[in-house]
């Protein structure tokens, strides 16, 4: 049964409070998204290279790991990670004799971890697809002029991989941004948590969710525009560079 009363009217003042409170916590949401994506991009590129070069054992292991990550919903991953964390944090503190209380630790890193795991199958797939689209002849040409594999990747291959992968990566950025809303369920303070905070005093939650929706919507639109601009820019640079 829904817990709202019928004949309910929107409390505009509460909506304003929720919007302000949500916006105040926007830096945390941005931190979650940016750091989550940064880790995911780094790991994703490494995983893509390992799978591209078909390194024995490691490549197969990562393929299985990616399937497992891809099949696990973000919410379930979040619940498992936070459960493992909270069950072991006391032991870790005692083991290292740290003078901190579990409640003092900012759990935002758990959210960052989950977001990076959640987006990693996507980022690695984007990089792998882009790697596969590069002609073999480019590798041969690089080796022919005496580049090492490291130099070849850094100066020839990766600069071509990034523009090709960019549209997918930008979609993943927006997906990570939206998925960051989940972390309020384990008590991490971000936009969603901030928007709902004033509502807890009134026991009226609709305003909080509307405020959170408005903030996420506005930022998603901005991010999509930014993504289109970046995709367009790198594509132009790529085609100019190749002329």
């Amino acid at each position: 049964m829904a817990s709202t009363e019928v004949g309910y009217e929107i409390n505009w003042n509460l909506l304003k409070l929720a919007l302000q409170s949500g916006l105040r916590n926007l830096p945390a949401t941005i931190e979650l998204t940016v750091f989550g994506m940064a880790i995911s991009l780094t790991l994703g590129l490494l995983v893509a290279l390992v799978r591209y070069y078909r390194l024995p054992v490691l490549s197969q292991f990562l393929t299985v790991l990616l399937t497992l990550l891809k099949g696990t919903p973000a919410m379930l991953m979040l619940m498992m990670v936070s459960l493992i964390y909270s069950s072991n944090i006391m032991k870790i503190i005692q083991y290292f004799n740290l003078n901190i209380k579990p409640a003092d630790i900012n759990m935002i890193f758990l959210g960052i971890l989950v977001l990076s795991l959640f987006t990693m199958p996507g980022t690695s797939e984007a990089f792998r697809g882009a790697l596969l689209s590069i002609d073999k002849i480019q590798f041969e040409a690089g080796y022919a002029v005496g580049l090492t594999t490291g130099q070849l990747l850094r100066t020839v291959i990766i600069p071509q991989v990034i523009p090709t992968a960019m549209p997918m990566l930008m979609n993943l950025l927006v997906a990570a941004f939206k998925a960051s809303a989940l972390v309020y369920t384990i008590g991490i303070v971000e936009v969603m948590y901030g928007s709902l905070e004033p509502c807890a005093q009134y026991y009226q939650y609709l305003e909080g969710y509307i405020a959170a929706a408005a903030i996420f919507w506005a930022l998603s639109i901005l991010m999509t525009c930014f993504g289109n601009w970046v995709t367009h820019t790198v594509r132009i640079e790529k085609s100019e560079g190749s002329v």
Partner: protein
């Protein structure tokens, strides 16, 4: 912890704290709980199937409205799609849950407050699906070259006949991969339904977890179920796509 964090906080003062006493993970407990959790998969499937069917129906309407550029409705559809794609599903779920009874009461005077929770959950997923389906369908129809329509006309077919016999079969083939991806993501996103009280895979797992005080076993069970069915769905769509390609190329 505040009420709105859905009691998922697993900190030192929560009820899940007893987890750290005794065994952390037991395969035996996980195996024992597995059939019970698997049995609640039908609730998950109910959400997925109804949301897909309703979403498909609404999605066709949205795609047609946008393709024929129906004035006013077309702009509303664009805003609707932007909202559904730009906001987190978890927010949409709660907005439907708290907002739909108010909206319906104020608009048409029906009181749906006492209706089953599952109704609100399925409605939220269906409304979300409609936006994504609308875009998939529109994209697939646009992907069929204009030339095909002209070829249809030149053989004397009407617009309706051309659409049904020439455009639609090709559009379906284009749409299948995106449809498969969308279905897998819908299936996985049902992992949020327990927040509104659905006793689906995760909801059932958490009930068992709270009774035994051991959550990790049941979470692993739920993960196994989600991973297995995600892979199966992917394989199914891969098979359908391959078959579609074969039929398509066989016609030439």
């Amino acid at each position: 912890m505040d009420r709105f964090t859905a009691n998922l906080w697993t900190g030192p003062n929560s009820s899940e704290r007893k987890e750290s006493m005794g065994e952390f993970f037991s395969l035996d407990r996980a195996v024992k709980a597995f059939p019970k959790i698997l049995a609640s998969l039908n609730v998950t499937f109910e959400i997925v199937i109804i949301a897909t069917l309703v979403g498909l129906l609404l999605g066709v309407c949205i795609a047609l409205i946008r393709m024929f550029r129906v004035p006013v409705l077309s702009q509303i559809a664009a805003v609707y799609i932007s909202f559904m794609r730009g906001t987190p599903l978890i927010v949409q779920l709660y907005v439907v849950y708290y907002g739909l009874p108010i909206l319906l009461y104020n608009l048409v005077g029906i009181n749906i407050n006492g209706w089953d929770k599952l109704f609100f959950i399925i409605t939220a997923y269906a409304l979300n699906e409609a936006a994504f389906m609308g875009e998939i369908i529109r994209g697939a129809i646009i992907a069929v070259p204009e030339l095909q329509t002209e070829a249809g006309y030149s053989t004397g077919m009407t617009y309706g006949q051309t659409f049904l016999h020439v455009i639609l079969p090709q559009a379906v083939r284009v749409a299948i991969p995106s449809f498969g991806v969308d279905l897998v993501s819908l299936f996985q996103s049902t992992s949020l339904a327990f927040l509104l009280g659905a006793v689906d895979v995760i909801g059932r797992a958490r009930t068992i977890g709270s009774n035994s005080g051991h959550y990790l076993d049941v979470y692993v069970d739920a993960a196994v179920i989600f991973i297995t069915f995600s892979v199966l769905l992917e394989l199914l769509f891969h098979f359908i796509q391959k078959r579609g390609d074969r039929i398509y190329h066989g016609q030439h």
